[in-house]
């Protein structure tokens, strides 16, 4: 029988929650890395027992952790006793070293980006927001970092190299949003392995068609009337999250700072599908596992009021992937609810019917095993939830 493993990152540690395929009863394991911020955990699609985790702290910086047994035990890659006997000699402790590529050999000298005050600042690494394991190789994993850049490891997270071509896509015009200048979304595609999408706050969405060597902005159709002096600028938009169904990699759904959008041409152009949403501000966006046109968002009142409109926690679903949305409220608090749902805190499993999960900054994790028609709390009273990922096993 299939089983489900939820990987939950919080402000004060990681939790791994498992259930059988009925998704009625859940076993909790954690906290792992208690006291640290776990921005993101994600398992390899090729080897689900290999899980990568981004562990961060304002005091101690960035640590990358890796589990090879489904989250039971963890190690920073490349620091184990067996590494002492490896061909590389002593462990180097490089798994948390994210150095921007300033080499002249690659033609990518370290550049600058816009700061809040309009000045130019050099890129400075702060943390890993998102880890995206390869669809084909468990040793290959991508990291989206702040200040915005994408790094790649091909040795299971021991060493990281920047794909510096991304910063050539008008990097000096990028600027930090209120949460920092972060690369938070990485989308890979089995059908076209050289094609990748990333999204950055506040720069926009970008596409590579050569496995990350070169990139171009894909923001045509985005309008940022109150955030940018030029509302339809080529870059500078605060994209919050992008989602894609693997069966239709040319169709993308975007939750922007304001506006929900859709692209039918792999990001070459976008059109708004906010329709009748009570607010088109929000963070996560997700696609149903088996219905490529069914999309989920969680409207948030505004960029200065990071809580649901009217104090009602409502997931909205569009079954046509366009401007028609319906509120999903059953089982969710419909009064006095003032939590937020962050961009990486929504996930969909692969069972049929699939379940949708999301975590809140109030420490709740909700699940729906009927496409969102009704919800149940899986966990309550966790630290603020930063990310939710799900693995469908067996």
């Amino acid at each position: 029988m299939s089983s489900i493993r939820l990987l939950i990152g919080t402000r004060k540690g990681a939790f791994i929650i498992t259930s059988d395929g009925r998704r009625k009863q859940w076993a909790v394991d954690g906290p792992h890395f208690g006291g640290w911020e776990l921005y993101h955990l994600k398992g390899s699609p090729v080897d689900p027992d290999r899980i990568y985790a981004s562990q961060t702290s304002s005091w101690f910086g960035q640590v990358i952790q890796r589990s090879d047994d489904g989250g039971k035990t963890w190690n920073p890659p490349g620091t184990q006793p067996e590494d002492l006997m490896g061909p590389d000699g002593m462990p180097k402790g490089e798994s948390n070293m994210f150095l921007y590529d300033g080499s002249t050999e690659t033609g990518q000298p370290l550049t600058t980006h816009q700061h809040y005050d309009g000045s130019q600042r050099p890129w400075e690494f702060k943390r890993v927001w998102h880890l995206e394991p390869s669809l084909t190789d468990p040793d290959t994993v991508y990291a989206g970092v702040e200040d915005a850049a994408i790094f790649k490891s091909t040795d299971g997270g021991k060493k990281w190299k920047e794909l510096a071509g991304l910063r050539s896509a008008k990097g000096p015009l990028w600027q930090p949003g209120a949460g920092g200048m972060c690369l938070h979304t990485i989308l890979l595609n089995t059908g076209q392995p050289d094609r990748m999408f990333v999204a950055i706050s506040a720069a926009g969405s970008f596409r590579s068609d050569d496995a990350g060597q070169t990139w171009r902005p894909t923001n045509k159709g985005l309008m940022s009337k109150y955030e940018l002096p030029d509302p339809d600028a080529e870059v500078g938009h605060c994209v919050h999250c992008i989602a894609m169904h693997p069966s239709r990699p040319h169709v993308l759904f975007m939750q922007k700072h304001w506006d929900v959008l859709r692209s039918d041409d792999a990001g070459d152009s976008w059109h708004e599908i906010s329709g009748d949403l009570p607010s088109d501000f929000g963070f996560p966006i997700a696609v149903h596992a088996h219905e490529p046109n069914t999309v989920y968002v969680v409207p948030i009142k505004s960029d200065s009021e990071h809580y649901p409109p009217e104090g009602k926690l409502r997931v909205y679903r569009s079954t046509v992937g366009e401007n028609e949305w319906e509120a999903l409220t059953k089982g969710l608090p419909q009064q006095d609810c003032y939590v937020n749902i962050l961009r990486d805190a929504m996930a969909v499993d692969q069972l049929d019917p699939c379940s949708i999960y999301f975590g809140t900054t109030g420490g709740q994790v909700y699940g729906s095993s009927n496409g969102g028609d009704s919800w149940v709390p899986i966990m309550r009273d966790l630290p603020a939830v930063l990310s939710v990922e799900v693995q469908t096993l067996g």
């Binding site: 910086g61 920073p76 180097k92 150095l99």
Partner: protein
């Protein structure tokens, strides 16, 4: 033998309990102690000082013998009591609260 006390989160990361004791060759300074510490526990690289510049992370402090050594040049010899092992070097996470 140099004694080093790590903050709790770094003890967990390095999988040590209590104090760490290190053999430090040559002049005993914060720099040479951290070199020896990171050599023994490579997972600590980058958590106390930056990988390349070796600058102390902003929320890390170095205390010993009731003195704050955080702002001393990293090649300053540590107090005699630390060199002899009578006193530990304390690596401390700056206070946080709310």
């Amino acid at each position: 033998m140099i004694r080093v006390v790590l903050p709790q989160h770094l003890r967990t990361l390095a999988r040590v309990r209590g104090e760490v004791t290190l053999d430090v060759a040559g002049l005993v300074t914060i720099e040479s102690v951290l070199d020896a510490l990171e050599n023994r526990y490579p997972m600590l690289q980058g958590t106390i000082r930056a990988h390349t510049t070796k600058r102390r992370r902003p929320f890390i402090r170095f205390f010993a013998c009731e003195q704050d050594l955080s702002y001393e040049p990293s090649n300053t010899p540590l107090p005699e009591a630390v060199m002899t092992g009578a006193e530990p070097l304390l690596i401390v996470g700056a206070m946080a609260g709310g």
